[in-house]
Structure formats: C-alpha cells, structure tokens
Symmetry: C2
Subunit: 261 residues, 2 copies
C-alpha cells in the first residue's frame, strides 16, 4: 500500500508566526501523500473576548454556543486554514484547505445533551469518513489541510482536532499505510508533567491507564493518547507524539513518544 | 460541450437567512455541473466595527489593511462559505467550499500601489485560472462554492466576487458551455435607478457605455456589467443579471437583464 503521512499540528505553535512557518517548511519536505490537520490556537479566544462573547466553561470544558461557533468557524476554517494553505502552496505543496463539512468528508453528530450541554460540538462518525473525497485530492497530488469544523446536515459543529486526525487515520487505513503524528509544543508524553525534558520513548496502553488513574498525564494529552490507541487498534501503522520543531526526527522515529499496542 | 452554470450571489441576500435558504433551495435544483461564487454581505463590516477596526474608504472604495484582511478571510472563507457549503450538502448537492488560494485555483496579484493604495486587494490573473482543479471537482460530481479570497504566493488577498465569477467563466469556457448569472437584490439593470420595477430586457455594450457616461448606471452594477461583457468576449455563452428570488426564471432567460454583444 501507498504511504500516507497524517500530521496534526496544534498548541501554541499555531499562534507563533515564525515557529509555524518553520514547521510548514519542514512539512513541505515530506515526500508522498500527506494530510495536515490543524487546531485553533488562542486566536478564537482572543477574538471572542474582543467581541464580548463570554467563554463558557463547565467542569473545565468549553461550551460552544451559537456565537462561539461563528467565531471558531471563522478563525479555524477561515483565517488559520486559508493562511496555512496559501503558505504551503507557496512552498510548492499543492494544498486545499477544507473542513469536515466539505464534501461531507467528516460526518459528525451534535453531541447529545447529557449532564452537560456542550452546545454546537460535533462527535465524528468515525465509520463514515468520506475516504473517496480524500483519495480524490490525494491521488491528484493535493494535500488536504483540515480545519476542525464538521457538520451534521446543515449545522456546522466545533470538533476536536485530535479526534479528527485519529478518525481520518483509521478511515483511510484501508487504503494507505498510515503514519500519524501529533505535533505540539512539548517533546512528547512527559515522564513528569513538571519537567519538559524527560519523555517516554514509548507508551503502551497499560502504562497509560495506570498513569491516567494517578493523574500523571496532563489534561491536553488525554485526547491525543486516547485517539492514538484507537488509531492503532483501527489499523494505523504508527502513531507518535512530539514537538513540532522536531518534525523531521519525529517522521524518522528519532524523537517524541511512540505509541504502541 | 457539457453545460456549466456559474451563479454569483451577492448583495443583501447573503445577510438574510430566510432568503438565502430559499435561494440555495432553488440553486440545489439546477441540473448538471455548477459553481457558486459568493460575496460577503454586511457581516464583515459589522464584525470590523465591533472589533474597532476602522473602515477606510478612499474615493468611496474600501481599503483592505491587514486587520480587515483577517476579518474578510474569516467571514467570507470561514463562516459564510462553510455555512452555505453545509446547507447545500444537506440539500443533496455534494459541495466543497474553497477560495482562490486552494490549489492556487484563482491566482491573483496584489493590486499595485498607484494614486490609491488599496492594501491587500487581489486582481485576478484571469489567464491563469487553474481549470484542472475545477474540472477535478466538477467531473467527480462536486459543486465548488467559491469565497472571494485569493492569494499571491502566501499572501491572502481580498478580491471582488463579480470579477472572480467572470474570470472563472472565461477560464472554463474552453471546456464547458457556460451560462453565467449575477444574482443580487434587484430585478436586473434598472432603466431608472430610482425605480426598481423597470429593467432592461437586454443590454448591449453601446447602450452600456452611453448610460455609464451619463451616470445612469448604479455604482454596484458597474463591476457586474464590465465583467459580463469581458466574459462574453472571452467565450462565455450567456450572461444575465437579476434578482436572486427569480433564479429559476433567470436560468430560463425569463427574468432579469440579458447581456449581449
């Protein structure tokens, strides 16, 4: 099978023009079929605040009301997505900026209201990824740049970018040998959340469950690791987590934390 | 040759949820290959104003500074583009929301600074439309929904949607029999700018030049008509201008103003 590299880029690097440019430069050098999934950075929070839209958190989790949905759709699928797409095109990577609503490529369902009403948040229908749409772009030499907005019918939905990357990887694993890399601002899964130098070289499920129970895994790492294990069980060949600056080493398994089952 | 219908939708209808939904419903019924180009409505002006970004006009023309560029990219390529795309998908039209930066499909150049510095405004390189990219989508059953943002290398640029529609029509006229329709809130080219009931059934270049010289053509109509004549000279089969509510009649040449050379 053909190789497909899926990179998810998130964290503070999205807000740092120079670091992001350097990352995109490294990304442009990846040979073969590739997809870039991006998160949102802090711009949507800044914009909401400037517009006087209150950031609502319940149990530390952000609620997406209709005004917030508009802001994240604008910031993620508009400014960030198109800026990255233009920059990658200028670096010689023919790129197309999309979100999950385009070609209904990442169908989602509005999260059911349980104890918490998350508002306009989408849960990816992971078994319904429109692989034909991604193959159409990839087989014609285009790199999809994916913003974390999905849709259920005509309703746009705010969606976790880590989950999108994981679901895409699984959905496309029937057609490609997939290497999935979560890039962010840390060197990998930290051995000690207060020391960013020491990372696990590998992480298996048993260790993860133990560390999760003892609270030794940082909050932001949990969706990445949950999705990493789901991806490996779903047929993805290789998953790792590491720092965006080391993308080349991450691709060669010489940096970050390799997730294993 | 296969038929291709290119509709440009602009004006106040973009801001009117109910009218826009009705328009998209009619649009969804168009048989065969089609492209939708949309303008921006008033949301970007409202957003700029809420953010305290001054709308700069020189001789009545809007200047796009870097903050305004961010706003229009967010509003046009983010919220409006993805909302319309999701709605059309839900109406059974497989749609992909793009802007001119995607696949460098509508290459542009930053407008040179002359007497006026328009800022980050793009002039379409009309002879460089990436027709292969549009054909890829169209031939695979997708309808491109095009936001009026283009790029020169990595620089995003604010671009006139009427011009984009016209340039796309000309660029694709080698491959398709093209019907181009400019939809807005008026019934067509008005015989009297103070009376919205009477419209010209047809408009030829000589009449247009005369009316333009006497100031009898409204300001917003000029780019539509200029692009309409350019399109017809460039190989487009049919161009008309009319009210969005009458889309079906416009398609059948039973409403609006037919532009002729």
């Amino acid at each position: 099978m053909q190789k497909l590299t899926i990179i998810k880029i998130g964290g503070n690097i999205i807000d740092d023009e120079i670091k992001l440019s350097r990352f995109l430069q490294s990304y442009s050098l990846i040979v073969g079929a590739k997809i870039l999934v991006h998160g949102g950075g802090k711009l949507s929070t800044t914009l909401s605040s400037k517009l006087g839209i209150e950031t609502k958190l319940i149990d530390g989790r952000r609620i997406t009301d209709s005004e917030t949905l508009k802001v994240v759709s604008m910031v993620y699928a508009g400014w960030i997505n198109k800026s990255m797409t233009a920059e990658l095109n200028s670096l010689g990577v023919p790129s197309v900026g999309i979100c999950g609503a385009d070609g209904e490529c990442i169908p989602a369902l509005k999260r059911p209201v349980g104890e918490i009403d998350y508002g306009f948040v989408g849960d990816v229908q992971s078994n319904k990824i429109n692989s034909a749409f991604f193959q159409l772009l990839l087989n014609n030499g285009f790199t999809p740049i994916v913003a974390p907005i999905t849709s259920e019918a005509k309703q746009l939905l705010n969606t976790n970018a880590d989950t999108i990357a994981g679901c895409l990887a699984v959905g496309l694993s029937k057609f490609y040998d997939i290497q999935l890399i979560y890039c962010f601002e840390k060197n990998g899964v930290l051995k000690d959340i207060n020391n960013s130098d020491l990372v696990f070289e590998t992480m298996d499920e048993k260790t993860y469950q133990t560390l999760k129970q003892t609270g030794s895994i940082s909050h932001g790492m949990i969706p990445k690791l949950d999705n990493a294990f789901l991806s490996l069980h779903g047929g993805v060949k290789s998953v790792s987590i590491g720092i965006a600056e080391n993308l080349t080493q991450l691709l060669n398994h010489q940096s970050g934390t390799e997730i294993v089952i």
